[in-house]
Amino acid sequence: MKRALVIMVVWALFASAGILLRNNYLVSVATSAAFLAVWGQSWNVLGGLSGNISLGHSMFVAVPAYVTILLFQRADVSPLLGALLGIAAAVALAAVIGAATLRLTGPYFSLATLAAGAVVLSLILHYDELTSGPSGIPISFAHDAPEKLEFTNVRAYYLIAITLLAAVTIFLDMIKRSRLGYYIASIKSSEAAAAAAGVRVAWVKVLAFCLSAALTALGGVFYVFFIGFADPNFLAGLALSVKIALIAVVGGTGFLIGPIIGAVFYETIDAVANAYFGAAGGWDVMILGLSVVAIVMTDPRGLCFMAERLWQAIPFRPKVNISARGV
């Protein structure tokens, strides 16, 4: 519970900072970072805890986002109800893919999820009568309408994003300490040993996949209203899937704050590179790529582990346990 309290205090600090900050651009960069961190955290339920690296997680962003928007625009279903249906759709998708890829581990599982993500993108592009295909779906509004998730001030989305982030982080911490968390951890080390101890491996893996999808979807439905445009190549694209996995790994999967650090790192470099060089030259991608290579070469376990090592190298450090690692 101590951790939950710390998380809430940090949340309050960031909330006030966001409200006081006058620069809209910075707030929207922070909002993007927070959504990315939510997805990284959600990805961690599967990737970090069970060691199954998914490279198709953007489908759990795209599917609920499209379900919510389409129900809203075509059938006048409230986005709040639509969001629930969208999340349910993401979970159903995860259950099907999970059940089909159960026996796969390591790179084979990653390839399977990558292929599944590509199929979802193709379907969205192909059924353009329903989804508007590659041109995407704009969400336009001029007034605040909370029940439709429509806010004219970007700070509303910022608050939503950091609230989701705090909630997902607390939830992840709870999972780690739960019965399910122990089962997932045992599967990560050895599926054979987990089964030998009575863990129903297949069931636990599918459950972890579905949980991960549900949390990712939760971020997805709010994100698309923040951006105000459903762009299939972004929402369902491979780039987003890789980004989600990347920030979690770069941050450090063993740490509760790993994906948050990873997301802030990513968005900061992205924003700075765009500001100095402009997005057109591809400098942002190059700088990011080089930083990731540098991090992985220094310590493949990620930024949090590097910070921990640096901290332990200080000779007269105060005796504070900075490790947020949930063993």
Binding site: L49, R179, Y182, Y183, A185, S186, K188, S189, S190, A192, A193, A194, A195, A196, A197, G198, V199, R200, V201, A202, G254, V327
Partner: protein, 250 residues
Amino acid sequence: MTALLALGGVAKSFGAVQSLVDVTFAIEDHGIVGLIGPNGAGKSTLINVLTGVYAPNSGTVYFAGRDIAALSTADRARIGLVRTFQRPHPILDLTCIEGVMVGGLCRGLSQAEARSEAHEKLELLGLANVADYSPRKLPTGHLKLLDFLRVLMLRPRLVLLDELMAGLSHNELEVVQGVIEQLAQTGITFLVVEHLMGVIRRLSRHLVVMDAGQIVTEGEPTTVIHDPRVVAAYLGDDVESGSGDGASHA
């Protein structure tokens, strides 16, 4: 009395290699049964078939009077048929005690119950001092004992020990053998697969010998060990040219 475990004509092959040719034997309730045989005799394959890791090509496996062919490894463990591995399988992201708790959680205990029972078990093997450490830096012997404790948490009826004792220190060996004897008294049955003949001699009241995927002989240990067929299995039919691979351990 029906046997706790009964195998009838179990066969398993991998491509052209027939690991188990025709294995038929039974283990009675209570006691410690030894299983020996030279490398490649099929002992580990047998354990994998018994625990549902491999499906046999033919034959039947009955546990406590029930055909368990359709049960998964986890479900077999939950009804009391458990195993340990030759190489340790630590749960790296959990502390030692949490790794042991997993077996108890699968038995349906709450976390608090599992933790206190796991603590008792760790104390039994003198491992209470590492309870809250990560298993990452522990020696192999400790890790094997943690694996053993994890499955004991399921309150098993039959424990298949696949070379549990190889690689343990002298002290650990003494403690574990004592614990196994003590548990056998309480009604848990053990099938002990070992190359360490000292362990086999001390623990087993009944000894089964495998070679080339078949049961060669079984019976009272001292008689069995001196059986000419067993000597032949270990040293080869022609003692002069035998490889002696298993014999070096024996």
